[in-house]
């Protein structure tokens, strides 16, 4: 599904809940997604 959506995929060798076991890994995709969106918004202004 992610491929069909052309989503950016991050894969790590972790368990089902990295937000609990390795939360630092989860931060990067959130930062990237939000900041990318913010920069697109600012460019369009």
């Amino acid at each position: 599904m992610a491929d069909r959506m052309k989503a950016r995929v991050y894969s790590h060798s972790v368990d089902h809940m990295p937000l609990v076991t390795v939360p630092a890994i989860v931060v990067d995709p959130i930062l990237e997604a939000v900041h990318e969106r913010l920069s697109i918004t600012q460019q369009n202004r």
Partner: protein, 152 residues
């Protein structure tokens, strides 16, 4: 270390408990938890985000410290859960926000995105599922139940 605030709001006569951190004027991120858990699962993630984002993590109805009305009063469908969380975002002033969805939070959050795409700045799906093809063979034993639920 950013502090996490623990709050409760009433949404359509139901008490919704949520965790909140970060500056109100920072970009907003809504965290939707998985099954069978609650916003508690974000306890170590929220502090890592709170210096850059305004983060809110509600307990979905029937989970954690949010109300759990009987099934005669509240249908625990993803549509209904999403409707309540949709109203929740309005009550807490989340007008535009990124969605981080995990597991059970995904079919809830994806509905918010379908209903209000203009309010969603980004979707980060972690082990979230949108289609049955995403279910592993481990779900096969309950597939007849799912089929019956679709028909009901």
């Amino acid at each position: 270390m950013a502090s996490i605030k623990y709050r409760t709001v009433e949404v359509d006569a139901l008490k919704v408990f949520y965790r909140e951190a970060g500056a109100p004027d920072a970009p907003k991120v809504l965290l939707l938890h998985g099954f069978p858990s609650a916003g508690h699962m974000f306890r170590d993630l929220i502090p890592l985000l709170a210096d850059r984002f305004h983060v809110v993590a509600p307990d979905l109805p029937g989970f954690g410290q949010s109300d759990m009305p009987p099934r005669s009063q509240f249908k625990y469908t993803f549509d209904n859960i999403a409707r309540l969380i949709d109203r929740f975002t309005e009550v807490v002033g989340f007008d535009r926000f990124a969605l981080y969805v995990f597991d059970y939070g995904a079919p809830t959050g994806f509905r918010l995105a379908m209903w209000h795409p203009e309010r969603i700045t980004a979707i980060i799906s972690q082990n979230g599922n949108a289609y049955e093809e995403g279910l592993s063979d481990g779900w096969n034993p309950i597939s007849p139940v799912r089929a019956r639920m679709r028909c009901s």
